[in-house]
Amino acid sequence: MSVVEVRGLCVEYAPHGRAARRSGQQTRLAVQGVDLTLERGEILGVVGESGSGKTSVARCVAGYQTATAGTVAVDGTVLTARREPRDRRRVQMIFQDPYSSLNPAMTLRQALREPIAVHGLRPRQGVDQRVEELMTLVGLDLRHLDAKPRRLSGGQRQRASIARALALEPEVLVADEPVSALDVSVQAVILNLLADLRSRLDMSILFISHDMSVVAHLCDRVAVMTKGRIVETGPVDEVFRSPRDPYTRELLAAVPPHPWAEVPATDTDAALPDPTGQ
C-alpha cells in the first residue's frame, strides 16, 4: 500500500493575495485535481514551471494547507483538515530557504530535543543520545550542537532542518526545493544525504524541484506539473528518456546539458525555443 495517496486535490486561493501580487498572476485554482501516490522507500520528484502548484501540493500533503477539494491519505488513513499532533508527526516538511527554516532563538540542541521531548519519542535519558545520533545521521559535527543557526552556513542549516524533521521519525519527508538556494557543492551534500536516508531508513520522500538534473539524479519517479495539473508521471528514466507530454519535452529541452553528459549537446541554439514564444 502507498504511504501517501493524494486523490483529486484542488487548491484555490482568493484572487487577491500576496503571491498573486508577487507574480502578477490572478490564478484562482492553483491546483486542479491532482492525484499522486508515494510508495514506501520511494523518492518522488515533482517538477514543473514556476507557479504550477508544486508548493501548494506539498503544503497540502504536509498538512499546512487545507485543500479545497480532494483527500490526502497517509498509510491508508485519510487525514482531516485539522490534524492531530500524532498525524502531523508522520509527514514532515523541509523548506527551500535554509535561512528562515530554523528558529534563530534556539540552539541546534534545543531545536532537536524539542520534538523528541514533546512527542515523548525517547525516554528522558535517551534524548541526548538521540540528538547526537541525528546530528551524525545528517553529517553535522557535534560541536555545532550549541550553536545558534546564525553561526551556520546554508548547507549546515539545511542539514539541521532535515535532522529536526527526522527527529519526529516521520514516515514521509516533503522537501520543497530544498537545494535551490544552495551552491552546487553544498547541494551535492544534501542530495547525497537524502539518497542515503532513503536507502538507510527506507524513508519516503516527496521531492520538489525545478531542476531537472537534480530530480534525474535523485528520484525514482517523477511527476511533471504545469498550470495546476500533473501532465505526466512515471519512472524518472522513462519520462526523461522518452517524454510523452509536450510540456515535459519543452522542459527537458531547456536543461543545459552537463558537459560530461553521455549525449553531448549538438546545436544548443537550435534546441532552444523561440525567445518570442514566451
Binding site: V184, A195, A216, P257, H258, T268, P273, P275
Partner: protein, 324 residues
C-alpha cells in the same frame, strides 16, 4: 579561436573590503578580457567574489568596498564612471528594477535624461527596444510596474533598460537563478541573439557550470577571489585543468547518471584576508602535494586554456567521466 581586440580588459584587479574585523579581499589580482561579440563566463562557488568583480567592472561597488590595485579598461580607456557604456543585470529581476517606476520610465530615462531625446522619440525607442527583447505587447506594457510582470518579463525589461543606454558591455550577475529552466533557456537565447545583432560583449556570472556551456565562448573559473582557470568553454568544461573545476563539475548532477553519489567538496573556502599564499584550493584539494604552497600564475595546459594548478600536467585526466 582568434582573440579579437579586447573590449574589456581587466588587469590585476584587487578589491578590498574594510570591515571591523580587518580588511578582506573578495577579488584578488584578477585579470580577464571580453571581446566584442563575445560571451565570457565567470563561474565559482558562492562567495568567491564573482559579484564583486562585476560591480568593480561597472564601478558600482557597494559601500566599504574599494578597488585597491589593477585597472579596468573599456576599449582601451579606463571605465568612465556611469557613462552607460557598461550595463548590468542582477540576479533577482525584482531587485534590479525600481519598484516605483514603470517599465516605460525604466527604458526611456537614459535616452531622455542623458541623451536628451524628446518624449515621443524616447517612447518609440522604448517600444522598439522592448519588442527587440521579445515583449510583444510592448506598447501596453509601458505603463506597467515591475510587480505586475512575471519574472521572465522583468528580465526582459531589465535587458531593454540596459540596452537603452547603448552599452558596449553587458554584465550579468546570475540573472536566471530565480527563474525556471524554460524561462532561463529563452533568456539565454535572447542574450545570444543580442550579442549577435549588436556585437556587444557579455560578462556572465553564475555558479552553474553546465549553464555556461550552453552560452559562453570562454569561461573564467574563480575560487576564493582569484581566477584559477580559464579557457574556451569546451576546454574548461570538458577537460578541466584545475582540481577545483573538476570538483565543481562532479558535484553537479546530470540527467541519466543517478547511480553514483555526487562528489561534494569537503571543507570551506578560506577567509579572504591578507597573507594567503600558494594555491588557495590546496586545503580542500584531493590532489594536494608539496609544490602547492608555492605561488603560481596562470599557465598551461595549452594555448587559450590556462590553469593555476601546479600539478596540471601530472593530473592530466582530471575528469571522472571515463574514457572519451
Amino acid at each position: 579561436m582568434n582573440a579579437p581586440a579586447p573590449l574589456l580588459e581587466v588587469t590585476g584587479l584587487t578589491v578590498a573590503i574594510d570591515a571591523p574585523g580587518g580588511t578582506t579581499y573578495p577579488v584578488h589580482d584578477v585579470s580577464l578580457r571580453v571581446a566584442n561579440g563575445e560571451v565570457v563566463g565567470v563561474v565559482g562557488e558562492s562567495g568567491c567574489g564573482k559579484s564583486t568583480l562585476l560591480r568593480a567592472v561597472a564601478d558600482v561597488l557597494p559601500r566599504g568596498f574599494s578597488p585597491v590595485a589593477g585597472e579596468v579598461r573599456l576599449d582601451g580607456h579606463r571605465v568612465e564612471r556611469r557613462s552607460g557604456a557598461v550595463a548590468m543585470i542582477f540576479q533577482d529581476p525584482m531587485t534590479g528594477l525600481n519598484p516605483v517606476m514603470t517599465v516605460g520610465e525604466h527604458v526611456t530615462e537614459v535616452p531622455r535624461r542623458r541623451d536628451g531625446l524628446g518624449r515621443s522619440q524616447a517612447r518609440d525607442l522604448a517600444i522598439h527596444l522592448l519588442s527587440e527583447v521579445g515583449i510583444e505587447d510592448a506598447e501596453e506594457r509601458l505603463g506597467a510596474y515591475p510587480h505586475q510582470l512575471s519574472g521572465g518579463l522583468r528580465q526582459r525589461v531589465l535587458i531593454a533598460a540596459a540596452l537603452s543606454g547603448n552599452p558596449e558591455l553587458l554584465l550579468c550577475d546570475e540573472p536566471t537563478t530565480a527563474l525556471d529552466v524554460t524561462v532561463q533557456a529563452r533568456f539565454i537565447a535572447l542574450l545570444r541573439r543580442i550579442v549577435a545583432d549588436r556585437g556587444i560583449g557579455i560578462l556572465y556570472v553564475t555558479h552553474d557550470l553546465p549553464l555556461l556551456g550552453t552560452m559562453c565562448d570562454r569561461i573564467n573559473v574563480m575560487y576564493a577571489g582569484q581566477v584559477i582557470e580559464r579557457g574556451s568553454a569546451m576546454d574548461v568544461l570538458r577537460d578541466p585543468a584545475h582540481p577545483y573545476t573538476a570538483a565543481l563539475l562532479a558535484a553537479a548532477p546530470r540527467l541519466g547518471a543517478r547511480e553514483q553519489a555526487l562528489a561534494s567538496i569537503p571543507g570551506q573556502p578560506p577567509a579572504l584576508t591578507e597573507g594567503l599564499t600558494g594555491c588557495r584550493f590546496a586545503p580542500r584539494c584531493p590532489h594536494v602535494a608539496d609544490g602547492c604552497e608555492a605561488a603560481r600564475g596562470l599557465g598551461a595546459p595549452g594555448e587559450g586554456h590556462e590553469s593555476g594548478c601546479v600539478r596540471v600536467a601530472e593530473l592530466a585526466p582530471l575528469t571522472g567521466r571515463g574514457a572519451r
